[in-house]
C-alpha cells in the first residue's frame, strides 16, 4: 500500500516526518502502525487518505494510486481521525446525514444509513442531541460511524482511542473488532502496544519516520516477553546487588533504573513469586513489586536500545502535541502576517 514514502515539512527546522516508510496491508486484515507521538503515523495516514501529498514514494489503496486517482481512492476509504472530526453544534444524526449526502447518497439513503449507524454504535438515544452533550467516548464512536457511512472497504483509524478512559477504550475495541470480522481492511495507528496487540494482525513499528520493526504481535512480543516485573529497593546499592540474584530468573538481562530493577518475562506471576523468594533468601529488603504489561517504551527499549520519543505515555501532553509534525502541519509557519 505504501512504498518508500517521504514527507518533509518545510520550516525553520525541517521535519522529516516520513523517511522512506513502506508497508502493505493485505485485504481484510488489520495493520497496526505503532509508534510514539511524532513518529510519522498520522502523516502516513494523511497521505494514504489523499489529504496530503507525499514528497517522494508512492502509495495506493486497493490498486488506486493516491496521487493520480485521488477521487477513486476517496470513494474506497473511511477515515476516523485522532481529533474527532465532527461538528459539535450539529446532532449525531445530522452529522452522519451530512457525510452521507457528501458521499452522494440521496436524502432518504443518508437518513436511513444514519439511523442504522446510530443503532449499531449504541447512539440511537443520543442521535437527536447536539454533540456538545456527548462524552469523549461517544464522540469517538460517532466519528467512527461517520467514517463508515459509505461502507468503505478500507478504513483508516488514526489513534482511535487516544485520550479515552479504559471503559470507552474497551467499548471502541469491541466495535472495531466487529468491523474487522466483517472483512474491512484496516490501517490502525496507535501509541499503545496493547491496542495493536488486541486489534492488529500485523504490526509495523515506526520511529522518526522510519520503520524499525515489523511482524505479527506474537513475533514482536516474543522478543519482549509478555509482562514486566518491576521490583523497587530502598537504595540503588541494594538494587545493583539484587540484579545478581534476579538475573537467573529471566533469559533477558534485567534493567536497572535507579532503585528499580525490571525483568521482562513470559510468565509474570510465577517469576514474581520466585523473585520475592530469592530476594528474601538473599536478605534484600523489597520496598515494592509491580507486574505490568510491556509498554511501547519497553518495545522501543528492546528494539532500539533507546526509549521512545517524548510523550510515550500516550496522552497528548503539553510537550508532545506541538512537537508532532503531523498534528501541527496544518498551520505550519503560516501566520496572519501572510494575509493580504
Amino acid at each position: 500500500m505504501a512504498d518508500g514514502l517521504v514527507k518533509v515539512f518545510p520550516g525553520r527546522r525541517q521535519v522529516r516526518a516520513l523517511d522512506g516508510v513502506s508497508f502493505a496491508v493485505p485485504r481484510g486484515t488489520v495493520l497496526g502502525l505503532l509508534g510514539p507521538n511524532g513518529a510519522g503515523k498520522t502523516t502516513a495516514v494523511r497521505i494514504l487518505s489523499t489529504i496530503l501529498a507525499a514528497d517522494a514514494g508512492t502509495a495506493s489503496v486497493l490498486g488506486h494510486d493516491v496521487a493520480a486517482e485521488a477521487g477513486a481512492v476517496r470513494r474506497l476509504i473511511g477515515l476516523a481521525g485522532q481529533y474527532a472530526a465532527v461538528d459539535e453544534n450539529l446532532t449525531g444524526r445530522e452529522n452522519l446525514r451530512m457525510v452521507g449526502r457528501l458521499t452522494h447518497m440521496t436524502r432518504r439513503q443518508a437518513t436511513v444509513r444514519a439511523g442504522e449507524l446510530l443503532v449499531q454504535f449504541g447512539l440511537s438515544d443520543a442521535g437527536g442531541r447536539t454533540l456538545k452533550t456527548y462524552s469523549g467516548g461517544m464522540r469517538r464512536r460517532l466519528d467512527l460511524a461517520a467514517a463508515l457511512v459509505a461502507r468503505p472497504p478500507v478504513l483508516f483509524l488514526d489513534e482511535p482511542t487516544t485520550g479515552l478512559d479504559p471503559q470507552s477504550r474497551q467499548d471502541l475495541w469491541q466495535v472495531i473488532h466487529t468491523l474487522v470480522g466483517a472483512g474491512t481492511t484496516v490501517l490502525l495507528t496507535t501509541q499503545y502496544l496493547e491496542e495493536a496487540d488486541r486489534l492488529a494482525d500485523r504490526i509495523v513499528v515506526v520511529d522518526h519516520g522510519q520503520v524499525i520493526a515489523a511482524g505479527t504481535p506474537a513475533e514482536l512480543k516474543a522478543g519482549l516477553g509478555t509482562s514486566v516485573v518491576s521490583v523497587t529497593f530502598a537504595d540503588t546499592a541494594t538494587a545493583v546487588t539484587a540484579v545478581a540474584v534476579l538475573a537467573p530468573l529471566t533469559p533477558r538481562p534485567p534493567a536497572v533504573k535507579g532503585v528499580i530493577v525490571e525483568l521482562t518475562v513470559d510468565r509474570g506471576p510465577v517469576t514474581a513469586t520466585a523473585a520475592l523468594r530469592a530476594l528474601d533468601q538473599a536478605g534484600h529488603e523489597v520496598i515494592g513489586l509491580t507486574l505490568r504489561e510491556p509498554s511501547l517504551d519497553d518495545v522501543f527499549l528492546s528494539l532500539t536500545g533507546h526509549r521512545a520519543g517524548r510523550a510515550a505515555t500516550g496522552q497528548p501532553g503539553p510537550d508532545g502535541a506541538p512537537a508532532t509534525p503531523a498534528a501541527s502541519a496544518a498551520p505550519a509557519g503560516r501566520g496572519p502576517g501572510e494575509i493580504p
Binding site: 489529504i51 477515515l79 461538528d87 449526502r101 458521499t103 452522494h104 501566520g335 496572519p336 493580504p340
Partner: protein
C-alpha cells in the same frame, strides 16, 4: 514486505458516482455544506441574537444619536443612512467566513471533508453561500428597522431589489477574501483579529454614514474611489432613485466592476490556499 504479494494486483472496482455531471454534484455538495453551516448557526441562539441586534443598533445610533449632526443635502438622513448600514453590516458579517473556516480547519472537519469523494469546491462555496444567506437576513432586519424609524424606498421595487443584490454581491466578494484569511490564520480568534483592521478604514472612511464632501481633500481622494463608497453610492441611488439615471448607472457599473474584480482575483487565490492548506 512479503505481505504485498497478498494484495490483488488488479485495482478494486470503485463504486461509481450516481449519474449526473460533476457540476451537479459540485452544486449539491456546496448546498449540503451551506446547509450544515446555517444549521450550525441557528444552533447558537446567542450568536443569532447578537448578530441581529447589531444592525438594529447601528440604525438607531446613527438615526438618533449622530444623525442630528449630519446634514445631507437633498434627502433625509435616515434615507441616506440605510444603504450605509447595509454595506457596513455585510462587510463585518463577511468576517464570519474567516472565523468559520478557521474553526473547521482546526477542529479537523476540513480534514474529513478532504477525504470524502465530494467536490473540492464545495467547502469554500458552501461556506460563502451560507454567509450570503446570513447577509440577506441581516439586510431584511435593517430594512424593517429602517422603516420603523422613517426610511422610505423612493425608487421602484425592481430598482430597490437591484440595490440589495449589488450589496450582496459585494458581500460575497468579501467572503472570498476572508476565506483566505480564515485558511491562513492560526486559529479562529486570530482570523477575527486579522480581519478587523483590514475592514475598519474601508468601512468608516467611506460615504456609508457621511457625505464624503465633508472630509478633508486628501482623505476624499481615498474615500471617493474606494470600493465601499462606490458600492454604497450605487446601492443608495438604486434604492432611492438618483438625481439622473445616467449618473446613477455609472456608479452602478463601477460598483459591479469592483465586486467582479475582487471575485476574479480572490476566488482562485482562495481555492489555491485551500488546496495547499493541510
Amino acid at each position: 514486505m512479503t505481505a504485498a504479494g497478498a494484495l490483488a494486483p488488479e485495482p478494486a472496482e470503485v463504486p461509481q458516482a450516481v449519474e449526473g455531471g460533476r457540476l451537479r454534484w459540485a452544486v449539491s455538495d456546496a448546498l449540503v455544506v451551506a446547509g450544515r453551516n446555517l444549521l450550525r448557526f441557528v444552533r447558537i441562539p446567542d450568536a443569532i441574537f447578537f448578530s441581529a441586534i447589531q444592525p438594529v443598533m447601528l440604525v438607531l445610533l446613527f438615526r438618533y444619536v449622530f444623525g442630528g449632526a449630519i446634514d445631507v443635502p437633498g434627502m433625509s438622513y435616515v434615507n441616506y443612512l440605510v444603504a450605509g448600514v447595509y454595506v457596513q453590516t455585510v462587510m463585518f458579517g463577511s468576517m464570519a467566513t474567516a472565523v468559520g473556516l478557521a474553526e473547521d480547519l482546526h477542529t479537523g472537519l476540513l480534514e474529513r471533508y478532504r477525504a470524502l469523494p465530494m467536490a473540492r469546491s464545495a467547502v469554500l462555496a458552501g461556506r460563502t453561500i451560507a454567509d450570503l444567506v446570513r447577509s440577506a437576513v441581516a439586510m431584511m432586519i435593517i430594512t424593517v428597522t429602517g422603516y420603523a424609524v422613517g426610511f422610505r424606498v423612493e425608487a421602484s421595487v425592481g430598482s430597490f431589489v437591484a440595490g440589495v443584490l449589488l450589496v450582496l454581491l459585494f458581500a460575497h466578494a468579501l467572503s472570498w477574501i476572508f476565506a483566505i484569511v480564515g485558511l491562513s490564520a492560526s486559529n479562529s480568534e486570530a482570523a477575527q483579529l486579522a480581519a478587523f483592521p483590514v475592514l475598519f478604514p474601508f468601512a468608516f472612511a467611506s460615504s456609508a454614514f457621511v457625505p464624503v464632501t465633508t472630509m478633508p481633500g486628501w482623505l476624499q481622494a481615498f474615500t471617493v474611489h474606494q470600493p465601499v463608497s462606490q458600492v454604497v453610492d450605487a446601492a443608495r441611488q438604486l434604492m432611492l432613485g438618483g438625481p439622473s439615471p445616467l449618473w446613477s448607472m455609472a456608479d452602478v457599473w463601477q460598483a459591479l466592476a469592483w465586486s467582479g474584480g475582487l471575485l476574479v482575483v480572490f476566488v482562485p487565490l482562495a481555492i489555491r490556499r485551500y488546496r495547499r492548506v493541510s
